[in-house]
């Protein structure tokens, strides 16, 4: 390569080639093992680690969320049969809203598209499915597919501008579209007699059971399954490839682009997927209530749903579910309180929004961050320990050994520093090698013991006869060249030795 035969004034080439050559491993095929989702060896993320304090290895569960999920949902499932009709109904409503919110979280959180057309998609497909059932006699099992299809188409339409617009503007656009849907449905004369609501929709609940106990339980069961499906979709999209790509893009679009991620397409995919899921939910909604009304499109309801998501924690499925649980319980469960319950809801909203920065599910992390801050403030107070820790690694060091080692080192250095005197230096200048006084010996031993990075090397330049010497600092890392510390030339080796000695002393004093 021509750069070798080119003198560059300002720059001296030292150790220009790396020691080791990194070859690309061949036989990739061996490593290309595709594992279908959910077929991994461990269902729970166990992490084995070696505890430097107790000196034994321990297994700990990195991610405890699966347990919480099973606890919460299982609890609900077990509890419901013992509830009163009203609360069975509330539980079912909770499941439906939770499903909607989980999917919406997918759109807002994962895809980062701030769409307010969620309920519009639900409503439109609900209307479509209901109409198909009531007026075209579509059997109920086909309603959800129809809903999904309508959702898909609507989603495609909505997705078109989503790449051009961003943030609140897209929100406004979707809001407008939702409003247009509402009004245009409200203008359908055929529906006018029933306030443009479609009633008497078929359902998976036999009409004999409608609003009877068994019907309610069946309805709840259906809603519960719906919620599970929504969670499954969330899991599949959010933590598999698409989710990862989207997260990268969310963090830094420029980076994503440079790496070749087509995040617009990914977004688009997720959005359309989610929309058709919402469509299916819409059909279910119509089936569940056996009727569908314009209120689906109402802005208040939409905002309330959004509040649920935020209360729980935006971007997390557990957040969506938790927030929904709380708000639905208050809003529907305390209906006896009348308007007061709305005040309570608002109070909850305010308190959570003011205190928790990531919603309820983010509180843990927030608390840990807070504690870390306090910890480091305390560490800052006692400069002794950790005082020697570099900024990069200043976080809690698990291995206390290291800290004590450094502590000892610090004491030793302080002792040595005190022993440094001009005549000590003079002594070394006089006789770099050979027998030394005790203090100087201690000092030199200390230097010898130090780690590689702090050491210096001597470079001989010029022909052997009339050579001179320069001082280099070792990088201490394999393949990393030593660098020249300055451009002084030392005629004799001893002077070079002494220069190095001075440098070391310099460093010692500075440290």
């Amino acid at each position: 390569m021509m750069s070798t035969n080119k003198p560059a004034a300002s720059y001296v080439k030292v150790g220009r080639r790396s020691d080791e050559v990194t070859l690309k491993p061949d036989g990739d095929q061996l490593w290309h093992r595709w594992r279908p989702p959910f077929s991994r060896r461990h269902w729970l993320a166990w992490r084995g680690r070696y505890n430097p304090r107790s000196l034994r290895r321990e297994r700990l569960l990195v991610d405890k969320r699966p347990l919480w999920w099973t606890l919460g949902l299982g609890g609900l499932l077990i509890a419901v049969p013992f509830l009163s009709d009203q609360f069975v109904n509330i539980a079912a409503i909770f499941c439906i809203f939770a499903a909607i919110n989980v999917i919406w979280t997918l759109i807002v959180g994962a895809a980062g598209i701030f769409s307010l057309a969620t309920m519009a998609v639900v409503g439109l497909s609900a209307y479509a499915a209901a109409a198909a059932n009531v007026y075209l006699g579509l059997p109920w099992p086909l309603m959800m597919p129809v809903g999904a299809a309508v959702g898909l188409i609507f989603g495609l339409l909505l997705a078109l501008p989503s790449t051009r617009l961003d943030g609140l503007y897209y929100a406004l656009l979707t809001l407008g579209i939702a409003e247009i849907c509402r009004v245009s449905i409200s203008q359908i004369k055929a529906l006018a007699p029933s306030n443009s609501s479609i009633n008497g929709v078929d359902s998976f609940i036999p009409s004999a059971w409608h609003l009877q106990r068994p019907g309610l339980l069946l309805g709840f069961a259906g809603a519960f399954v719906l919620l599970l499906c929504a969670l499954l979709v969330f899991r599949l999209v959010n933590t598999e490839r698409l989710g990862l790509l989207l997260q990268t893009a969310r963090e830094d679009e420029a980076f994503a682009e440079a790496v070749g991620i087509d995040y617009r397409r990914a977004r688009w995919l997720v959005f359309v997927l989610a929309s058709s899921a919402l469509g299916a939910i819409g059909a279910f909604y119509a089936m569940f209530y056996r009727s569908i009304s314009l209120a689906v499109f109402s802005l208040d309801q939409l905002l309330l749903l959004f509040a649920m998501i935020v209360i729980g924690g935006l971007g997390r499925s557990e957040g969506a579910v938790l927030g929904t649980a709380i708000v639905v319980l208050i809003d529907k469960g305390l209906i006896g309180l009348g308007p007061l319950r709305i005040i309570i809801v608002t109070a909850v909203m305010i308190v959570v929004a003011l205190t928790a920065r990531e919603g309820l599910t983010g509180i843990k992390a927030q608390f840990q961050a807070f504690r870390n801050r306090k910890k480091s403030e305390r560490r800052a107070a006692r400069t002794e320990k950790g005082g020697e820790v570099m900024p990069e690694e200043a976080t809690e060091i698990a291995d206390k050994q290291l800290i004590y080692r450094r502590l000892f080192d610090k004491r030793l250095r302080d002792a040595l520093k005190s022993s440094i005197t001009p005549d000590l230096i003079a002594e070394h200048r006089a006789k770099p090698l050979g027998q030394h006084s005790d203090a100087l010996d201690r000092l030199l031993n200390y230097f010898r013991r130090e780690e590689m990075p702090d050491k210096y090397a001597i470079l001989r330049v010029g022909p052997l006869r009339s050579c001179s010497y320069r001082v280099m600092a070792l990088s201490g890392r394999a393949g990393h060249p030593p660098r020249l510390v300055d451009d002084k030339l030392y005629p004799t080796l001893d002077e070079a030795y002494h220069a190095v000695f001075l440098l070391r002393i310099n460093d010692l004093l500075a440290s």
């Binding site: 390569m1 021509m2 750069s3 080119k6 003198p7 560059a8 004034a9 300002s10 720059y11 080439k13 030292v14 220009r16 080639r17 790396s18 050559v21 990194t22 690309k24 491993p25 990739d28 490593w31 290309h32 490839r241 990862l244 790509l245 997260q247 990268t248 969310r250 963090e251 830094d252 420029a254 980076f255 994503a256 682009e257 440079a258 790496v259 070749g260 991620i261 087509d262 990069e392 990088s475 393949g479 990393h480 060249p481 660098r483």
Partner: protein
Amino acid sequence: MLPTGACFGCEGVMLSLGGRRILSDVSLHVKRGEVLGLIGPNGAGKTSLFEVLSGRYHPQQGSVFLDELRLDRLDIFRRARLGVARTYQSPVVPNALTIGQTLRAARKAYAPMMSAHDAEWAARLVRLDASWDRTAGSLDTFDRRKLLLACLMMRRPRVLLMDEPASGLINTEIAELDLLLRKFADEYHLAIILIEHRLELLGAIADRVYVLDLGAMIAEGAPEDVFRDDRVQAAYFGGVA
């Protein structure tokens, strides 16, 4: 069309943004295994030129070539998939992700998916030896740059565009960067285009240097000649070398 032997470049690029003429009739080309320097005073249009080459800005005139094919209408990620890798002036990384996740994202960015092995290889290649559990946001400038490089090298790009890779680095790090670039050029035969204000680095590794001023190429050639060129002196060093 590119001159023979060149594998990447642009012809007669004219770009104006917001009514301002940023680049006027800029052409450059680079061979495989060649390190090309691009210098110029601030605001000369270097980054803009990169944006054109990598596809963020689409020029009003002129076109960008990779070997035979014109890239004109392709977006950044499409060019990236064709093997045009670029880095940014500021060390961008997905702050919240861990290094492991970031590499995984890069692996799975598009078909063919790379194996975890490739990621390890790339990380090793660029000497990114921070723990893979650290979040990218907590890395220092150099490691951030390395992370992006690893993500790019994993795919064995054909061209590497680097915008001020040494800004904010210290000498040892610059030396290491130097090594990396040479390795890419020599062993993996990348064509590298390098915007740099640190002339020692540029002088050391660049085979040719283009000088851009007020959006126009004012000089081209081997570094030392170019640095001595009067117009360059005037434009870039302001008389003082």
